[in-house]
């Protein structure tokens, strides 16, 4: 295996609605910043991979438009996943492992504000038995949350505490969208949105973009900024039909964590892509993360949830934090699909 490192990370401030910049302009800002911070000249980057969804852009092949942000000449080796940018990073990591490139630019973007996001997400479902019912993303998460309450060991108060902690941590994150002090009792006095979920259990709708540059071996060591090494990365998926799974557990996260070599006792922090409060609880259990571990110092997806970006941002945030602290291991997680259907775990180490 080649040693691959995260060299740089850039993100836009996340907003409910990005009205003045197109996707291309958002992408250009973060790509330019990530390349400049990586220490690798733009022309020397061997591969580019992006993550986005044409359903969110509302236009077929919208992802091709974003390539405008990279410049039209000279030709580059480029790819795209119709997924969160964390999976674009995985593809780039594989490309580098294969020896087809020594460095890669990864970016992701999403402007969810252009449509009605919960309904747009209905279109990711089985088009025969699920999508025709019109079930939206919040309702599916609420079915999962109810299963978890029925299983026991967790309460709605525990979830509200996760929301309070996330918004408080987000006060130190200039890119976060939803931040501030809140009180558990006040949150619990709010009506249900789709019971048993209240508004604070759900993520904000966010527009934004992010970019990461990764590189291998000596290319990474020579590049300049302190590299944060990817010690393991793996992703796994579960069946699509929600009624086939035990929604209260995430075996795909557990397996991805094992394959990525995550050892909970050695971690400094974890950035978990849990768009709903109860999902953080499920992910902690799946990864065996103890009470003492710092979870989502960025505020996580409850503070900003740009679709197709929030998973990549977890990797970038985790890498940035251990780079700043100088040493240690961090875990970053990304999810995709409804009710944590697909999960990616990345273990990072700063030297």
């Amino acid at each position: 295996m080649r040693d691959v490192a995260v060299l740089s990370f850039a993100q836009t401030p996340y907003k409910r609605r990005e009205a003045s910049r197109s996707e291309v302009e958002m992408v250009m800002a973060v790509v330019t910043e990530a390349i400049a911070d990586s220490g690798i000249p733009k022309g020397a980057i061997g591969f580019t991979c992006s993550g986005s969804s044409d359903y969110i852009a509302g236009q077929a092949f919208a992802f091709v438009g974003a390539v405008d942000a990279l410049g039209a000449w000279p030709p580059i080796s480029e790819s795209h996943v119709e997924m969160d940018g964390a999976w674009a990073l995985y593809e780039a990591w594989v490309k580098i492992q294969c020896g087809a490139a020594d460095s890669a630019l990864v970016f992701a973007f999403g402007r969810s504000s252009m449509g009605r996001l919960p309904e747009t997400l209905t279109m990711q479902l089985d088009p025969y038995t699920l999508a025709p019912l019109g079930i939206d993303a919040v309702s599916l998460a609420a079915l999962q949350a109810r299963s978890l309450l029925d299983r026991g060991g967790v309460t709605e108060r525990d979830w509200a505490e996760i929301a309070v902690r996330s918004r408080r941590d987000a006060m130190a994150n200039p890119f976060a969208q939803l931040r501030g002090e809140s009180e558990v009792d006040k949150l619990l006095a709010e009506p249900y949105l789709v019971s048993p979920l209240r508004k604070h259990d759900c993520p904000p709708i966010s527009d934004g973009a992010a970019a990461v540059v990764i590189a291998a071996d000596d290319v990474a060591r020579r590049a300049g900024p302190r590299p944060v090494w990817i010690r393991g990365i793996d992703h796994r998926i579960e069946p699509h039909q929600p009624g086939v799974r035990d929604l209260t557990r995430s075996p795909s996260t557990s397996l991805a964590g094992r394959k990525a070599g995550a050892v909970p006792e050695r971690l400094e922090l974890a950035e978990l892509h849990a768009p709903f409060t109860h999902q953080e609880w499920i992910l902690r259990e799946a990864l065996g993360l103890g009470e003492g571990l710092r979870i989502n110092p960025s505020g996580g997806a409850l503070a900003a949830n740009p679709m197709m970006v929030a998973g990549l941002a977890r990797i970038g945030e985790a890498a940035q934090r251990i780079r700043e602290s100088g040493s240690g291991l961090a875990l970053a997680h990304a999810t995709q699909g409804h009710c944590l259907q697909q999960n990616l775990v990345c273990v990072l180490e700063a030297e």
Partner: protein, 152 residues
Amino acid sequence: MSDAAPGPAFSAHHVVEYTYRRSVGPVLGRFFTELRERRIVGIRRADGTVLVPPAEYDPDSGEALDEIVSVGPTGVVASWAWVRQPSAKHPLERPFAWALIRLDGADSSLLHAVDAGHESAMSTGMRVRPRWREATRGEIHDIECFEPEGAS
């Protein structure tokens, strides 16, 4: 290039739809044909358990499945979520529950709506029965929704 200060980005109206006509294949085809006759079927896995809706391949082993079995039509609510304000895309116009329904004879749950009138009428483990659409057409909406078994 214009020197004008940047204004709002250009925007255009798009309708996002998945407008393809699709063939449902032998297994879901049978499921929908049976729904038209107001019957519900699942498919048996190698370990004897029954999946509803039926799948062509076992979600764990990938093995091809072909033994269709009758289930339900009544069942038990395995999980539910109460919708106070239905959207235009939802199957009912008044407050209702989404539910994962374990039909009698099945080992997985079917997702559908339950018309229970009020949230307090919902509970995990409650029994429900389908309310069939008057003119069935061989699609998931042939079941309008489920309703509490005791309801008149």
